[in-house]
Subunit: 163 residues, 2 copies
Amino acid sequence: MSNSENSPVRESPVPMSECGAALAIEQIPDRWTWLIIREMFYGVGRFADIQADISIPKSVLSGRLAQIVENGLAKKEAYRDGSSRTRHAYALTQKGRELAPVLLALMQWGDRHMKNGESALELTDKRSGNPVKIGIVPKGGALPLRWLSYAPTQKKSDGTSGD
Amino acid sequence: MSNSENSPVRESPVPMSECGAALAIEQIPDRWTWLIIREMFYGVGRFADIQADISIPKSVLSGRLAQIVENGLAKKEAYRDGSSRTRHAYALTQKGRELAPVLLALMQWGDRHMKNGESALELTDKRSGNPVKIGIVPKGGALPLRWLSYAPTQKKSDGTSGD
DNA sequence: TTTCTGAGTTTGACATTTGAACTCTGCTCT
DNA sequence: AGAGCAGAGTTCAAATGTCAAACTCAGAAA
């Protein structure tokens, strides 16, 4: 950050009620909510699938999903699985999708500090195919979200088609 | 995000234990931890000041600070207030400071979706003075964190020097 | 109609959070 | 030196939230 950081600051320059960060935190207040949104980013939207991936108790998942929908981050959608029964899945709304930079910045930070810089996901500009990251840019200089593409980094030989 | 997003994904492509985002979330698991880190970003580091700003119970603050220090996001430092007694304050470490893009991306999101795009903080490149933001950039194209400067946005006439 | 399955809700034991009261330490005042 | 005070916690009981297992319910399949 680094402003003139000499004397201790006694009070935040921006009160909670006017700070975008604080307001955002109210919408994603806990670990479970973050992890659920992470799942949805990866495209995992069905109740049981989310539950299995992150090992969340059903009762908690149900409550968190309700909040997430209430806050407009995701919505519940019906879809047709193959040609079979109607199913439901939660999918991010535009508002939810716009959390991508946050989640990706978090991922970059986690990769750097908890995984010695090894990322499990490769981000690229889908126009050029060039690698991208989240960072500080001159206003107007960022690539639009819809150009972003990601692919899991190749792990050691994975036996390819498992099943 | 937008990969080939047709069939529903049944499982996250990156397991929790290898996902930088999931690992990061473990270090900042709840609302209070986020808010405390927000305070430290603003330079607020003293126990009582943090407590007053975010209205956290002392017992919880004390526990969260211990975790934050344990995770290496901040450290407790002694300093001399004026010429008076020794005091202590918590200050972000390098690791903690590198959360800036996450927090700022969160702020941008909050400003856009909860404040009609009005930000309480103006970010600039401190060399050029040009406004900056957090976004997707070609790898190597981001400005270094230390060039970032911020200032509270002018609110409607604030009577200056309150008191 | 019965069965199955995905998506919850309910339950009751356990854990965490709250807010108030209490402690401890190191100045500062007399 | 001794009393007082303020900052930075700790301790406690009540309220709230979490967990895992058992239960419910609706729609499709047999």
